[in-house]
């Protein structure tokens, strides 16, 4: 049985961030993930906003980790090589009631320290968090905001990320620093031994002295199995829509929030698309369906904020759930009171992405407070080099890449200009892509308007070649989601994986 000092359950953005934080220290660490990739749960189904933290009620855990997480994103993005744009944001109000709630948000924000967060480039420090009562000022910040808007809250700290890129980057850096990622490893039971845990999984037993529960929708099961708190979960489900690219990405625009949700937010993504996020409804656990009414609500909400937004240019509607702890509108980040070797990072919901780096920081502190010795390793490397994005490379760099390896010149995905070499890199990195969707999240092949209509069969062929399997064994997403069922005629050697160039059509 493999033994570790600490096992983290769950390779979502929270688990990956914690793994990266702790990879700095001289301890043995593993991440157990039931899926075949990181960020398969709530981490891939959100709007990618790094909220600043004026929303959570002061003195909640959320309030602290949100603002601090937002602050840390600058350093994390530089070290981990993921794209983070500190864009700033506007809460947009239309009525006098809205004006009052904007005021309440402002006070919240001051209490949470949002006014001291870093500001988006080009925005004056002293004006970085302020109420706006002039429609002209609103339009100066975002010319496309509705003419009917009368007031707003400007926050210069808000940013946008690709949420799975953050999780992938953190996981890659953790792995490079020695963290073991055990993918496809579902926890079946946990035996509490004297000096720790014996964890039974699908793929064998793992020993760990301490356990960190970052299992997302599985957090209640893990807590119970490990002897921790009984958690009762609700499934708060949200639909999200991605629209096609705009010439200029929209500033993140928030409506005035309701007591349960931030409402329908419109924002330009780091890739120039528009994201409309999210509805919030309690649904059956595990439900990640999209619903016609939710999608309509999103498109309507978006048009209310940006009337000229062409909401017909839908690239993809999707959905995901957050396993929130019943009756507790907060994260549970603590050492378990029932099982002192168990640490909880549970009940993660919005603003889970924004908070992740700070949740990791807090987890480190909890471990230290529990007397666990964390000594820095001399070999720790905080830097993760991002894979090359061909589309963004300078022409000279593109030429050099192609001269080096012709696979850089074979463009697979025309919507996002992704060459074969990027697909190969996505598979070969550690932890690497094992599915068509995993490739898509890493290099954007299939992310565009045609949704893989052109590149999917090519990506399947490369996955099969790289992983040494048949195309029928390549999943769309997790294990058990095959796209293909074998060859139509002849034997398997005739399959695309084994037929590099194809018949010469010129004959």
């Amino acid at each position: 049985m493999e033994r570790y000092d600490i096992a983290i359950v769950g390779a979502g953005i929270t688990g990956c961030a914690i793994a990266r934080q702790l990879s700095r220290y001289d301890i043995s660490l593993c991440v157990l993930e039931s899926g075949n990739d990181v960020a398969l749960g709530a981490s891939k189904a959100n709007g990618g906003l790094v909220h600043a933290g004026y929303d959570p009620a002061p003195h909640t855990v959320k309030a602290t980790v949100n603002a601090r997480g937002c602050e840390l994103y600058g350093t994390w993005s530089r070290e981990l090589g993921f794209t983070f744009h500190r864009t700033g944001s506007l809460v947009v109000g239309f009525t006098s009631d809205d004006r009052e709630r904007v005021m309440a948000l402002y006070r919240n924000g001051i209490a949470n320290g949002v006014d001291k967060l870093p500001a988006a480039p080009g925005h004056a420090e002293e004006l970085r968090f302020r109420i706006i009562d002039d429609a002209e000022d609103l339009h100066e910040l975002e010319p496309r905001v509705s003419d009917r808007a009368t007031c707003g809250l400007w926050c210069a700290a808000t940013g946008v990320v690709d949420p799975f890129e953050v999780a992938i980057a953190a996981a890659e850096n953790a792995a490079a620093n020695g963290v073991g990622f055990l993918m496809g490893t579902r926890v079946r039971s946990i035996h509490q031994a004297n000096r720790g845990f014996e964890i039974e999984t699908d793929t064998g037993s793992v020993g760990a002295r301490y356990l960190i529960n970052a299992a997302g929708s599985g957090c209640a099961d893990i807590s119970r199995m490990a002897g921790g708190e009984e958690l009762e979960l609700d499934w708060r489900q949200g639909n999200i829509v991605i629209l096609d690219k705009e010439p200029r990405p929209l500033l993140p625009l928030y409506p005035v929030p309701t007591p349960v949700s931030k409402g329908v937010i419109v924002a330009g993504t780091v890739h120039g698309n528009t994201v409309i996020t999210a509805t919030a409804r309690l649904r059956e656990p595990g439900d990640d369906d999209t619903y016609a009414q939710d999608v309509e609500e999103l498109l309507e909400g978006a048009r209310r904020l940006v009337p000229d937004l062409d909401t017909k240019r839908v690239v993809r509607p999707f959905a995901g759930g957050r396993a929130v702890i019943k009756g507790m509108n907060d994260f549970l980040i603590c050492r378990s009171r029932l099982q002192p070797r168990l640490f909880q990072a549970a009940g993660m919901q919005s603003p889970g992405v924004a908070s992740a780096p700070a949740v990791a920081e807090r987890m480190e502190r909890l471990l230290r407070e529990a007397g666990i010795e964390l000594r820095e390793r001399a070999s720790w490397n905080p830097i993760r080099k991002a894979p090359v994005d061909f589309d963004l490379a300078e022409p000279e760099e593109q030429d050099r890449l192609i001269a080096d390896d012709p696979a850089w010149g074979r463009i697979f995905c025309r919507c996002e200009t992704v060459p074969e070499a990027e697909v190969v890199a996505a598979i070969r990195r550690v932890p690497g892509a094992r599915s068509v969707e995993g490739v898509k999240r890493r290099c954007r092949a299939g992310m565009g308007r045609c949704q893989g209509g052109f590149c999917q069969s090519r990506v399947v062929a490369v996955l099969a070649r790289e992983l040494g399997c048949n195309p029928s064994e390549v999943p769309l997403e997790d294990v058990g989601s095959p796209l293909l069922y074998g060859t139509v005629k002849g034997d398997a050697r005739d399959s695309i994986a084994h037929r590099e160039q194809g018949a010469d059509f010129h004959g």
Partner: protein
């Protein structure tokens, strides 16, 4: 950037090596132009390569061919020319070469006497990045399929939901079976052909569902692909939910009312592991818009004049990237027109071209500074190509499609509300692209706007 090498300098660069692209290239070449075809796939042929069913070439070759056979005939013609074929090459941008000789703004550089702009076509292939310089560009990139996302089918997102064309590629080119039991949404031609194809390869096809109260494909395809194989077609019914966590397990289909809204209580759950979508094609014009080409929101293709020239002088458009055609033959004859005009445009500056027809050319067309005529669709006509006419002394063929089937209707061309031409009453169908000819007599009468309308009329 220095002077382009002579081997990257062309009269006409055609983007896309499908039937339209090859057609345009062959025609431009026949007019004596130095021509290049840029194709992103490893082979010429475009989507025809995966269309292994017969039914191609009846108009053009007067015999029934499969898609690959049809493509091969064109490929063979290209091969015996000195047309430069660049396969495995993706065009990343089309830019206008900066005017070195003058700092003046050439707002309308196609006016008489002005030098024609040179276009720079940048492409990426495994041999590196290359920039071609050319006087004329022909856009022939074809179209893409509408996705599940665009029509916003609710439900989960499992494996097993394919656009029909992708499934066709898996079956016919990759030799891969995409599933065992299929439901097909959309009665467009690709959906109908794939219904038969799946059945022939041993898959079960539960049925074809169509949200409209009529079939969208050609009649012959309904007969040959559905009726002959006993595959039912369910009209006014659509897929309202996708069910399944990892692989598709079922779809929910629901009947729709006359406003295309699902009728509660008519939902039906159908077990299947495959859903094929044949729900429309979208001209693929991202490259065109980046080059400054204006699009017609109705076709999502470029706005063109009677010579198929877009709003950017020297850039032409034809085939499915201009508007979606039913038949490859039609796309190709359109391409021949684009190729001819691209050749005239490219060669007119420095060469005296032998203008074989009495037809006015793109070059001569700008001679008289008369107002352009804007063409608009009206009534049941969903769109009209071209969008503008720049000269009035030639016959102009216009193409359009009706929005819905109509038993008895007339074509009416109007100028300022006044009918200047009326056709004979007959039936029109959305699945068939229609053509009509505007004569110089009509054009001379026209002001600055003409409408091409289809009006339903009483049975006489």
């Amino acid at each position: 950037m220095g002077e382009p090498r002579s081997d990257t300098r062309f009269d006409v660069v055609v983007i896309g090596g499908g039937p339209a692209g090859m057609g345009a290239a062959l025609t431009a070449h026949a007019h004596g132009c130095r021509v290049a075809i840029v194709e992103r796939d490893a082979h010429l042929g475009g989507i025809l390569r995966q269309c292994i069913h017969p039914g191609f070439g009846l108009a053009l070759f007067k015999e029934e061919l499969t898609g690959p056979e049809y493509a091969q005939r064109l490929i063979n013609r290209v091969k015996v020319t000195d047309i430069v074929v660049l396969c495995g090459s993706m065009v990343t941008s089309i830019d206008r070469e900066a005017c070195a000789s003058s700092t003046e703004q050439h707002d309308s550089s196609h006016e008489k006497g002005e030098p024609r702009p040179t276009h720079l076509v940048r492409l990426i292939s495994e041999h590196g990045a290359v920039t071609l310089s050319t006087k004329s560009v022909v856009l022939a990139m074809g179209c893409r399929e509408r996705t599940r996302s665009e029509i916003k089918i609710p439900g989960s997102r499992p494996a097993g939901v394919f656009t029909a064309g992708l499934a066709q590629r898996y079956l016919n080119v990759e030799n891969q079976l995409p599933g065992h039991r299929a439901v097909i949404l959309g009665s467009g031609d690709i959906g109908l052909i794939m219904a038969r194809r799946c059945r022939l390869e041993g898959m079960e096809v539960e049925g074809v569902y169509e949200i409209m109260p009529y079939a969208n494909g050609l009649n012959r395809n309904i007969r040959n692909c559905l009726d002959d194989f006993g595959i039912p077609l369910h009209l006014s019914t659509t897929v309202t939910k996708i069910i399944g966590t990892r692989r598709l397990e079922a779809v929910e289909v629901t009947r729709v009312d006359e406003h295309l809204q699902p009728i509660p209580g008519t939902e039906r759950r159908i077990s299947c592991d495959t859903l094929l979508l044949s729900v429309g094609l979208v001209p693929e014009n991202e490259l065109s818009t980046a080059a400054g080409v204006e699009l017609d929101p109705r076709t999502r293709g470029a706005k063109v004049d009677q010579h198929l020239m877009t709003t950017v002088p020297g850039i032409f458009s034809c085939g499915n990237v201009l508007h979606v055609h039913d038949l490859a033959d039609n796309a190709e004859s359109e391409a021949e027109r684009a190729g001819t005009q691209a050749a005239y445009w490219a060669r007119s500056e420095s060469h005296s071209i032998d203008n074989p027809s009495t037809e006015t050319t793109a070059q001569e067309g700008d001679r008289d500074a008369v107002d352009d005529i804007v063409l608009e669709p009206e009534g049941l006509a969903g769109y009209v190509v071209p969008n503008r006419i720049t000269c009035r002394d030639e016959r102009v063929k216009v193409f359009f499609r009706v929005k819905r089937p109509v038993e008895n209707a007339v074509l009416r061309v109007r100028m300022g509300g006044v009918v200047i031409f009326e056709g004979k009453p007959r039936a029109y169908k959305p699945s068939i692209m229609e053509g009509a000819t505007l004569t110089p007599a009509m054009l001379m009468k026209a002001g600055t706007t003409l409408t091409v309308g289809i009006d339903e009329v009483e049975e006489s």
